[in-house]
Amino acid sequence: MSIGIEICVNGLHHQLDVKPQTTLLEVLREQLRLTGTKEGCGTGDCGTCTVLLDGVTVNSCLVLAVDAVGHEVTTIEALATDAGLHPLQQSFIEHNAMQCGFCTPAMILSAKALLDRKPAPETAEIKQALSGVLCRCGSYKKIIEAVVAGGEQMRRER
């Protein structure tokens, strides 16, 4: 059985056929080929599949595609525009805040969700906001530094 749905990803509306059990992650990676969103476990434990649903972080492996209908999905592919990189992307590069890079999209989106909600968070809040995304390379220190710097730049641009 498949269901026709309309789903809005990065501002674009897509008509898709999905199964009731199809996850948002499967739609993003397999149907829309937006592979910047990663799958690290499929059970909501590692956070590498993090995307924004109406600006709030979700594990896209735990969200059914049908439940994303009527919501705005944002993936890493939407952050850079013709005007350039998002300040967080820029600061992640400047601070070398990645190693293998597999968790990087999820880290950046988690940071964006926090900074959009709270422009000047405490370090403890940053740690908390990023704690749902695992980084086995252990880049946490530089990621937190990049989020602080990216946040400052976002405030300047406001």
């Binding site: 476990c41 993936t75 190693q99 597999f102 880049s139 946490y140």
Partner: protein, 770 residues
């Protein structure tokens, strides 16, 4: 001469791809006609396969191939070729691949795999390598003596010992006789998962016309794997082609054929269609590879003043079902159990023992992590008993420049003492202890380590300068997260004299990129860096000869820097692009090649017959940790780690820091959180909810300190950093816990339960003061 790129925290070349989600990993690979693989795995730790019935699976919708070990009856492995691609007639661990399916969708493949019917006859299983050593234990590899293997390893046919290693120097008996105190302690270090965020993944495609396999991999050593595969199948290196993609972490776990083995076996039967195999997290945790667990017995003789007289080490490595790179771990990595210390007489017995468990393989540190745990935990026991400060005891015995290693090799560029004193100073060694509130107790501790690099190994590269002066660096070193592309591009840009922005470093493809041994053993910067220096020199000389002809000058009088040709005065005479336009006006390029091996270096000279143990460089590191232990709950929080590493010249200090910071987190996570819970050979905690990794919430303050003891043959003096980085973390934490609450943990991991139990025991039997 001042340097433009070397020693600078140049931002990563792969940063833009990674922050925009465009970096493509093996799991992201899509190919025309791609099929998806799934694996049926053994539910039993040891059994004979009586029958496999694939009839129903083959009739399932979307299925294109079902393959068993009998269909693809080859074996492969590390130094001992003991492993089938898919189980043949028997299974040796829970999770061993028994059959595989390729289908139009991953779901269809998984559904079909479930329909394969296997009849097993269960056999008694061995889970503890010490039991496996018993005389009556079932022999898991009765045909061990018939396996293909590398000649330098001694096997013990008819037992469960895969390889055995003995080594001694001096006179052990006399050494112990001269000692004032003899310390005998036993330590255990547990198996842990590599847990890269990108699970094992591979794709393979087979051409029947050419009997040729193309493989896409996230391994750190495409050339090594190509060699393993070509030898296993009896085909030439021309008939196996490995493409590297970005790797989502490996830490040693991707140093062997894992998902690649399944993908290759399937691809043989899909009539030319490519097959992608992506391990689930459950498969990653339970059926890929682990760090070897090890039982280590140390007997150390020491004079009252802290001078070592002798040490004997008996190490039993839990190999798991197949050996992978275990023989190397048990041969070389084990030597770190003698520490970075002068010990006149040593004796070693190192046995790699088969059990019915997940395969033990290469893991960041390659045995030195296990050995460092025992060595450095016992160091503090010795210091306490002799009433010598642990830092002083280490400094007293530490290797210095000119000391001889265990095989008689003279040690050069030994920054060990600096790592000890700098880490100690940073953590506040010797200053009054910080007090904590309530039931919390604070303590500090330290540990150091020594790590060789695999020697001799080779690296080759080609450098191509295009007509427009852009530079292509062709080398077989994949980017596995350490910043390999960036560091190698820095060395190339500096050595040729071009802007780093003009250098591209494509992913390795064994069909085009020349040979490289591996991104492993902290060898890439040094070995590939040296190959790049040579290739760079060649293209640079060619360019200057051409420029000299064009300008009517002697090439020796010209300089190339940042793509600009000048003379001694520094004024630009012409650009590199201008030279190329003149030299190859109708298109073309300038090419250079480099090849590096330390073979024959005078630095490797050792006692007769012992040069195989020499290392072209030695890495040293000290971690000093401050912990807070809750004496009521036993919970440990690591507050600070000062990590000092002798890296040689830091080509990119930011990337070195990152390796150190990352390794501290990994070491902390391995030590305090990670442990396989097993029942009859089955790993019960097969999710990242139950197998816990450190998160941002566990991040201590980390102070990375780089000691730059310049290596005379290293590129710009560089050595390496990544491998030893996690080794001292566990004993540093354990020694700090002793400082905080007065108990010593001998068996990793360190859990609150073990601390509480040890505290209760020590309250019952307070140590006798003498």
């Amino acid at each position: 001469m001042s340097q433009t790129y070397v020693g600078k925290p140049v931002p990563r070349l792969d940063g833009l791809e990674k922050v925009t989600g465009q970096a493509r990993y093996t799991v992201d690979l899509d190919l025309p006609g791609i099929l998806y693989g799934a694996v049926l795995r053994s539910p039993l730790p040891h059994a004979r396969i009586v029958d496999i019935n694939c009839d129903e699976a083959r009739r399932m919708p979307g299925v294109r191939a079902v393959v068993t070990g009998r269909d693809f009856p080859y074996t492969f492995g590390g130094p001992v070729k003991d492993q089938p691609f898919l189980a043949i007639d028997r299974v040796l661990y829970v999770g061993e691949p028994v059959a595989a399916v390729a289908a139009e969708t991953e779901f269809a493949a998984q559904e079909a795999a479930r329909k394969i019917r296997v009849t097993y006859q269960e056999l008694p299983a061995l889970f503890d390598p010490r039991d496996a050593l018993g005389e009556t234990a079932a022999v898991l590899h009765p045909d061990l003596h018939t396996y293909r293997r590398a000649s330098q390893y001694d096997i013990v046919p008819g037992s469960n010992i895969c390889t055995i290693r003995r080594y001694s120097t001096g006179n052990l008996e006399q050494g112990f006789a001269e000692a004032d105190e003899i310390f005998e302690d036993e330590y255990y270090i547990h198996a842990v998962a590599h847990s890269p965020l990108e699970t094992h993944a591979a794709a393979a495609q087979y051409s029947a016309a050419k009997n040729e396999y193309t493989v896409w991999t996230s391994s750190d050593r495409p050339y090594r794997l190509a060699t393993v595969l070509s030898e296993a199948l009896g085909i030439s290196l021309n008939q196996v082609r490995f493409h590297s993609m970005f790797s989502g972490g490996g830490f040693g776990g991707k140093a062997a054929l894992v998902a690649e083995a399944v993908a290759v076996a399937l691809a043989r039967f899909t009539q030319g269609r490519p097959v992608k195999v992506v391990y689930s997290r459950e498969e990653e945790l339970t059926a890929s590879q682990t760090r070897h667990a090890a039982f280590m017995k140390l007997k150390t003789g020491v004079k009252r003043d802290g001078t070592f007289t002798a040490r004997h080490a008996d190490v039993v490595w839990d190999n798991g079902a197949y050996c992978s790179l275990g023989p190397d771990v048990a041969y070389r990595g084990v030597l770190t159990i003698f520490g970075p210390y002068r010990i006149p007489s040593i004796g070693l017995l190192s046995r790699l023992v088969y059990t019915n468990k997940e395969i033990g393989g290469a893991y960041r540190g390659f045995g030195t992590t296990q050995a460092t745990w025992a060595c450095e935990a016992q160091m503090d026991v010795i210091a306490e008993k002799l009433k010598i400060d642990p830092l002083e005891l280490r400094l007293k015995n530490a290797y210095v420049d000119g000391d001889l290693y265990l095989n008689g090799q003279m040690m050069r560029t030994v920054g060990l003492k600096d790592t000890l004193t700098l880490a100690a100073r940073k953590i506040g060694w010797g200053s009054p202890k910080q007090q904590a509130a309530g039931s919390k107790r604070r303590g500090i501790g330290m540990a150091c380590t020594i790590k060789p690099t695999a020697t001799p190994t080779t690296s080759y590269c080609f450098i191509r300068i295009n007509q427009d002066a852009s530079v292509v660096l062709l080398c077989g070193s994949p980017e596995v997260g350490g910043g390999q592309k960036t560091v190698l591009a820095q060395i190339a840009a500096e050595s040729i004299g071009v802007p780093i922005g003009s250098v591209s470093v494509p992913h390795p493809d064994t069909q085009y990129t020349p040979f490289d041994d591996a991104v492993g053993s902290s060898r890439t910067t040094y070995h590939m860096g040296n190959a790049i220096r040579m290739a760079s020199r060649e293209v640079r000389e060619k360019i200057l000869v051409h420029a000299g002809k064009i300008l009517g000058r002697q090439p020796e009088a010209l300089r190339l820097s940042e793509g600009s040709i000048s003379d001694g005065s520094g004024a630009e005479l012409m650009t590199l692009e201008g030279v190329l336009q003149k030299v190859v006006p109708r298109g073309g390029c300038i090419i250079g090649e480099g090849q590096y091996s330390p073979e024959g270096s005078p630095l490797l000279a050792a006692a007769p017959g012992q040069t195989a143990m020499s290392s072209i460089f030695w890495l040293f590191a000290t971690h000093a940790a401050e912990v807070e232990v809750d004496s009521e709950t036993g919970v440990v929080r690591v507050l600070r780690v000062a990590a000092a590493h002798d890296v040689g010249r830091a080509i990119n200090p930011a990337l070195c820091e990152q390796q150190i910071e990352g390794a501290v987190i990994m070491g902390l996570s391995n030590t305090l959180f990670e442990e396989f819970k097993m029942e009859k050979g089955r790993i019960l905690n097969d999710t990242l909810a139950d197998y816990r990794l450190a998160s941002t919430m566990d991040l201590p303050q980390i102070d990375s300190i780089m000691v730059e003891s310049m290596h005379e043959e290293g590129p710009f003096g560089a050595k390496g950093v990544g491998e030893p980085a996690a080794a001292p973390t566990a004993p540093a934490i354990a020694n700090a816990i002793f400082d905080a609450v007065g108990v010593r943990i001998h068996n990793l991991p360190i859990t609150p339960e073990k601390i509480l139990q040890a505290m209760r025991q020590s309250a019952k039997n307070p140590p006798v003061q003498d």
